[in-house]
C-alpha cells in the first residue's frame, strides 16, 4: 500500500503554492446534464481553470463508470493507445482514475506537474463502454494539485 512519488521543488519567493482541488460535475459543468448512449462518445468538454493563478495538476480521481480521455492545456493527450478501434483509446475508470475509498491517482510529470496557466483549460472526452445508457450526471472529475500565486507573475 505504498506509492513512491517524485518530490517537487517548492517555488522561490515571492511565489506561494496553495493546495487546490477542482471538482467538475453536473452542478458546474453543463455538458454533464444529459445522457450518453451505449458505445457513444462526447465531443471535447473544457474543464476551465480559475483566472487568479496558474495550476499544476498532480493527481486526479473520478466517480462513475464513464471512460475518459484527458488532454492538458497544450492538447497533449494524457492517455491514448491510438488504436484503430477508437473506443479502446479511452481509459476505463477502474484501471485509471477510480479509487476504492482511499487516496487519489498520482500523475507524475516533470516540472512540478501538468501546468495550466491562469484561465487555462484541460479537456476531457467521455465514452460509454457499458451496454446501457448512462446518465452523465453520475460523473465527477476531480483534478488535484497546486495553485501558484505571485504578485509578480512567476508561474510557469
Amino acid at each position: 500500500m505504498y506509492r513512491p512519488q517524485f518530490p517537487y521543488a517548492l517555488p522561490s519567493a515571492p511565489c506561494v503554492d496553495q493546495t487546490c482541488q477542482y471538482s467538475f460535475d453536473v452542478t458546474n459543468l453543463p455538458a454533464l446534464g444529459g445522457t450518453l448512449a451505449a458505445g457513444s462518445r462526447t465531443g471535447r468538454i473544457p474543464l476551465k481553470m480559475d483566472k487568479d493563478a496558474g495550476f499544476y495538476l498532480r493527481a486526479l480521481f473520478t466517480q462513475g463508470s464513464i471512460a475518459l480521455r484527458l488532454e492538458d492545456p497544450n492538447r497533449n493527450a494524457l492517455s491514448d493507445s491510438e488504436n484503430a478501434v477508437e473506443s479502446s483509446n479511452y481509459e476505463i475508470p477502474s484501471e485509471y482514475s477510480q479509487t476504492r475509498g482511499a487516496g487519489s491517482v498520482v500523475l507524475e510529470s516533470g516540472a512540478g506537474g501538468l501546468y495550466a496557466p491562469a484561465g487555462g483549460t484541460f479537456v476531457v472526452y467521455l465514452y460509454n463502454p457499458t451496454s446501457g445508457t448512462l446518465s452523465l450526471s453520475t460523473v465527477v472529475i476531480n483534478l488535484i494539485g497546486e495553485k501558484r500565486y505571485t504578485n509578480q507573475g512567476c508561474a510557469g
Binding site: 500500500m1 505504498y2 506509492r3 513512491p4 480521481f61 492538458d72 497533449n76 494524457l78 492517455s79 491514448d80 493507445s81 491510438e82 488504436n83 478501434v85 479502446s88 483509446n89 479511452y90 481509459e91 476505463i92 475508470p93 477502474s94 484501471e95 485509471y96 482514475s97 477510480q98 479509487t99 476504492r100 475509498g101 482511499a102 487516496g103 487519489s104 491517482v105 498520482v106 500523475l107 507524475e108 510529470s109 516533470g110 516540472a111 501538468l114
Partner: protein, 303 residues
C-alpha cells in the same frame, strides 16, 4: 549514484506448473520442500511476496484462510516458522500490493527458492501459487537496459492495451505492445481488467507473461492480473481471520497500482511482447471476452 549492478524487474512463480502437488492441497495436508531453481543468468533479490488460489464461483479465495507457510533464504535458512498467510499480508499480497520483504533477500544464480506449506482449513486449496517479486542483478551492459537521455522532459501518460475476444481456455502468445513515435515511455505501474462472475459467466483467471523486445521474460510463468496489477473495481472478497469474515479490498486500484521496480524503459517505436493465458474453462455461460489493461508511467521527451 549508479548502483553496482544493473537491475531488472523479475517475478518468480511457484505454482502447479512448477510443483504438481500445488494443483490441489488437501485439507490437513502438509507439503514440504516446494522448490524452484532460479535462472542461471543472474542473482535475484526478493523484495516482495504474494500468494493466490483459484477463485470460487462466488469470486472469493476463502480457502486461503487455512494456509500456513514458511519460506527459506538461499541456504535453506527458513525465515520463520509456518505462519498464517492471512495474518501476514494485506489481501495475500494481491491487487498490486505484494508483502514487502525488507531488506531484500539475495539468491545467487541457480539457487533454490524453497517453501513449505500446510492447509489446516476444511477444504482443499486449488491451484495454490506463490509469487516472489524482486529484481535480477546483471553486470552493467550484459543485458539491454534503455534509460533516460541526458536532458529530457517528462509527462504523465498511460497506454490502455486492448485485448479482443480472449477465449475461455485460450493461450495467446506473442502479443505486441508498441510505444508511439513521439516519445519514449517508462512503465512504472499497471492496472488490470475487472473480473466478474455473473449469470453463470465467469472471467476471473487471466495471467500475463511480459517480455522485452528480445522476448526475454520478466517472469518465469503466468502472473495473474489481480496479483501483478489489481483493479479499482476488484470484485473479489478476501477472507480475514481464522473463522473468516469476507471483506472487499479497500484502498486498492489506480491510487495504489501494481508497481514495476525497477521501472521498464521503452524507447519510442520500440516494443514489448506479452503472452496471455485464460483458464476459466467452458463451464456455465463462459465465453470469449474483450478487455483492456493499462500500462501507466511517463512519456520522456529528449531535449
Amino acid at each position: 549514484m549508479k548502483p553496482p549492478y544493473q537491475q531488472r524487474f523479475q517475478v518468480y512463480v511457484i505454482g502447479a506448473n512448477q510443483d504438481p502437488r500445488l494443483a490441489s492441497v488437501a485439507a490437513g495436508a502438509t507439503l514440504e520442500e516446494i522448490k524452484l531453481t532460479t535462472d542461471s543468468d543472474a542473482p535475484f533479490v526478493m523484495t516482495g511476496r504474494a500468494v493466490r488460489t483459484s477463485y470460487t464461483s462466488s469470486l472469493n479465495q476463502a480457502n486461503l484462510a487455512g494456509l500456513k507457510s514458511r519460506w527459506a533464504g538461499p541456504k535453506k535458512d527458513y525465515r520463520s516458522e509456518s505462519l498464517r498467510e492471512s495474518l501476514q499480508m494485506v489481501y495475500y499480497g494481491q491487487f498490486g500490493n505484494p508483502k514487502p520483504i525488507a531488506p531484500g533477500v539475495t539468491y545467487p544464480a541457480s539457487s533454490t527458492l524453497l517453501v513449505d506449506c500446510q492447509n489446516f482449513g476444511a477444504s482443499a486449496i486449488t491451484n495454490l501459487t506463490y509469487y516472489f517479486f524482486g529484481y535480477k542483478l546483471y553486470p552493467w551492459g550484459s543485458v539491454v537496459g534503455y534509460t533516460y537521455p541526458k536532458r529530457f522532459a517528462s509527462q504523465t501518460f498511460a497506454y490502455p492495451v486492448p485485448v479482443t475476444g480472449l477465449g475461455v481456455s485460450e493461450y495467446r502468445p506473442g502479443q505486441i505492445f508498441t510505444v508511439k513515435n513521439d516519445a519514449d515511455f517508462v512503465i512504472r505501474a499497471g492496472q488490470g481488467p475487472t473480473f466478474f462472475s455473473t449469470d453463470g459467466r465467469t472471467f476471473a483467471e487471466v495471467g500475463i507473461i511480459l517480455r522485452d523486445f528480445d522476448k526475454k521474460p520478466y517472469m518465469n510463468d503466468f502472473v495473474q492480473f489481480d496479483v501483478l496489477f489489481g483493479n479499482g473495481a476488484a470484485p473479489a472478497t478476501i477472507p480475514v481471520g481464522p473463522t473468516p469474515s469476507f471483506v472487499q479490498p479497500f484502498g486498492t486500484g489506480p491510487s495504489s497500482p501494481g508497481l514495476f521496480y525497477p521501472e521498464i524503459y521503452v524507447p519510442r517505436n520500440h516494443q514489448l511482447r506479452f503472452d496471455l493465458q485464460r483458464s476459466d474453462g467452458s463451464g456455465g455461460s463462459n465465453q470469449a471476452e474483450d478487455f483492456t489493461f493499462n500500462l501507466i508511467g511517463s512519456k520522456v521527451f529528449e531535449k
